[in-house]
Amino acid sequence: MFETALSAADLIFLAKGAGITIVVTAISVVIGTVLGILFGVLRVQLGPILSAPLTLFLDIFRSVPLLIQLVLANSFIGMVLKLQLSGFFVACMVLSLYTSAYCAELVRGGIDAVPGITRRAARSLGMSWAQDMRYIVLPLATRVALPSWIGLALGVMKDSALVYVVQVTELLKSTQILITRLQEPLFLLLICGAFYFIISFPLARFGGYLEKRSSND
């Protein structure tokens, strides 16, 4: 028969870790998306030359492994800036910028997919640049970018497992703590995986729903 030392209290401990994973992901995805839209619009608006510094900045966040970003940011803030920031804050900050770098690319691609003539049609009706953006370009860009954005949000959720390096005890770290104590790695990882699935599944479904709703034409 299958036996385990896992207690109800341990499950609650894991659930708390899952809660941290959800909160870190939610904060990072929300801030990262807002920044990503801003950066994406800026990149399109400024053109390739003027936006080169921004592009370089975003490329760094996209190409350096998240683990390294977290460690470096944490050390920089602590040792160079001499600031006492919580690991949770640092984790959210780095993950937000990491998300924004990917999101900016999605936004840029989405905006580029809007035909220039459609934008001219909007402007020729007397709409301002901002009205064109608000009512025509961003809604159309969203449709193009949405499937990839859902993928990005799911990816950030899983990548958030790395924030343990800045002493944030999220789901995977909680699992590791239990593994060390109970010595039942396979069973615990299975449960941990189930938790990740339970978190991801509604998001993936929600994405499917949004996609369906936005392609109503």
Binding site: S124, L140, R143
Partner: protein, 240 residues
Amino acid sequence: MIEIQNVHKSFGQLEVLKGIDLVVQKGEVVTVIGGSGSGKSTLLTCINGLEPINSGKILVDGTEVHAKSTNLNKLRRKIGIVFQQWNAFPHLTVLENVTLAPRKVLGMAKAEAEAIAERQLMHVGLGDKLLAYPSRLSGGQQQRMAIARALAMAPDYMLFDEVTSALDPQLVGEVLETLKMLAEEGMTMICVTHEMAFARDVSKRVAYFHQGVMAEIGAPEQIFGDPQHPETRKFLASVR
């Protein structure tokens, strides 16, 4: 009145308009014909300030389009334009396509904008498509929707940039009928077109553009019956 005075326009090294002079009176229908690359479409986008010009002047009711002090968003309210394709806002219903600018640009109440939109859509024969999305419309219906959308702003001038060129042949007629109807109602129009029969029937004057120059302008009977410029003759012979 639209006054175009010695307008020059280049895209990089390529000069597409080489000193165009043209005056279009209120209530007049002018069609512009010519081969591709003759600069005729560019002229339209210069008239409503979508494209800057290099020199010369374009005045619409006395307002200089390309002057720094001109509020283009305001000026464009009285100049409607319809392009060859990609006019529709695909994420909005037909009704929303038409009500968007009256609501957001003119600040009209929703009910008022919808009443105007419905009237314009009926006018172009789309009264039964109000809640459809553009992708459910044929190309001809999309073009008529774009016309209704421009008309909902109650413009004084309408510019048509080869509005039938991207359509299947059997859909061209319905769009040209709509343009004819507008012309008969007294709308001031500049139509860039490849439809010679339409140009002959509807316009007061026909302009022939060749390589960025307005080679010839005159009444349709004269342009089609007795073209003076050798290039006009060559062009008309090639399209007949």
